[in-house]
């Protein structure tokens, strides 16, 4: 029944591996940059706040597919030679996801009530200690579900790098499809791979949400 998938399994799994690599790199770059963006968004210095806010507002209004295209077109100008789609895709994903993670960090930080911080000060903690023992633990716990959700979305979005010719899972499925003409099983397989992995991810995320609600 899944003969076309079976015949091309190594090829397809190779594509899946590229998908995973892209996701890991996007998160590894996007989360640290996102922390910086989040810090910029809560900064009181105007020359930090306004440029960062501008960056976030612009990127969040642009479809990811266009961001990918834009970097694919601009990278050769900067680097000086035609670029492999993979680094170009990684850069556009980092730039794009950083704004989303940045907003998650900002929301997490702002969700900690002022009273908590004041309580920290009044017990004689310094700002660093308040951050270390009160602010960060509470904020992280609040942020974790939305961070997992955003990571799953990043994972789903990796297939958009398809448009610049990155040979990831979806692209390879289309390649196999042109040879084998077995659309139902090929795209069914791709859908199943994404579904099962995302379902596991969202189940984990939900477990964290339940824990958060109990206050554990």
């Amino acid at each position: 029944m899944f003969d076309a998938v079976q015949r091309n399994l190594p090829f397809l799994l190779g594509g899946f591996w590229i998908t995973v690599k892209l996701m890991v790199l996007a998160l590894a770059g996007g989360i640290p940059l996102g922390i910086l963006v989040g810090l910029g968004r809560i900064s009181k210095k105007k020359w930090v706040y306004y440029p960062v806010t501008f960056y976030v507002n612009v990127i969040r209004n642009i479809p990811l597919i266009l961001v990918i295209f834009w970097f694919y077109f601009v990278m050769p100008i900067i680097v000086g030679s035609p670029l492999d789609p993979f680094p170009s895709a990684v850069i556009s994903f980092i730039v794009f996801e950083a704004t989303y993670f940045g907003e998650i960090f900002r929301a997490g930080y702002q969700s900690v009530s002022k009273g908590q911080i004041e309580a920290g000060y009044s017990t004689g903690l310094t700002y660093a200690q308040t951050a270390r023992y009160i602010l960060i633990p509470i904020a992280v716990r609040r942020m974790l579900p939305s961070m997992i959700t955003q990571s799953i979305i990043t994972y789903q979005d990796t297939c958009l790098a398809f448009v610049i010719g990155l040979p990831e899972l979806v692209r390879r499925a289309t390649i196999v499809d042109t040879l084998e003409v077995r659309s139902i099983q090929l795209f069914g397989f791709v859908a199943f791979v994404f579904w099962i992995t995302c379902y596991v991810g969202s189940t984990i995320s939900r477990r964290y949400e339940v824990k958060e609600a109990r206050g554990v």
Binding site: F69, W70, F73, I77, T174, A191, C198
Partner: protein, 239 residues
């Protein structure tokens, strides 16, 4: 710093026929956004409602729908309908489908609508969950029937609670419609890519497309801000 000599030519954004391409693209993006939004809203509210129904099999269908459509990337869903659709419906119907002009246009609208419906359903469910049990009891104790309770109390409340998240979804649908370019729907992103193919000035065309989406996004936010303030309930805490 600039390694490759690149002559910028911004006139591809308004020079004919490229300016016309972009205008057609915008028109198609708006069509995709609004039509698939209608599908997403109707289907999503329906699915969200049956997810909280007291009928177990209905609840199961709703949950299955949400879990399936939310956990598969939209691009994959689009490809599935586009490539596998004719095979699912069989050879005879395939010819009839091919007779419809712009098959990919309808595929994109329906796929985008069905995908977004799963997200709307989640917001709808959250909207129902946000209404306290007291409201139901209060409505029943004043002598309303169950239908009247939903008609006059629950649905007005739930709708207002879900308007802000639905605003975000409406914005997202415009951004997601750009994925329809992959099956050849000639919306804004597709047109930017087409200008690149014809003039090799993809950077300018893509930047122009980015600005178009930005303007569209800001427009939608303004529109929805008006809507939200009109439907605001005074005294509903935190909304």
């Amino acid at each position: 710093m600039l390694g490759l000599a690149y002559e910028f030519d911004w006139s591809v954004l308004w020079r004919q026929p490229y300016g016309m391409y972009l205008l057609q693209g915008i028109w198609l993006t708006i069509q995709l956004g609004i039509l698939s939004w209608i599908i997403a809203f109707l289907l999503g509210v329906f699915i969200g409602t049956i997810r909280v129904s007291s009928w177990r099999s209905m609840r199961f269908i709703g949950t299955a729908y949400v879990e399936i459509f939310r956990n598969i990337p939209f691009l994959v869903q689009l490809f599935f309908w586009y490539y596998a659709g004719p095979m699912v419906f069989g050879q005879t119907i395939q010819y009839r489908i091919n007779a419809i002009p712009n098959l990919n246009y309808y595929v994109a609208i329906i796929a985008l609508g069905m995908y977004t419906a799963s997200r709307v359903a989640e917001h709808t469910r959250a909207g129902f969950a946000a209404i306290s049990r007291d409201q139901y009891q209060a409505a029943l104790s004043t002598g309303l029937t169950r239908i009247q309770m939903y008609r006059y109390v629950i649905i007005p409340y739930a709708l207002r609670v879900i308007i802000p998240p639905l605003t975000t979804e409406f914005l997202t649908i415009f951004k997601n419609s750009s994925i329809a370019m992959t099956i050849g729907v000639a919306e804004t992103t597709f047109m930017a890519y087409r200008i690149d193919a014809e003039t090799f000035h993809g950077l300018e065309a893509t930047t122009g497309a980015c600005l178009i989406y930005l303007a569209l996004g800001l427009g939608v936010v303004k529109l929805m801000g008006v809507l939200e303030s009109r439907f605001k309930i005074h005294g509903l805490i935190g909304r």
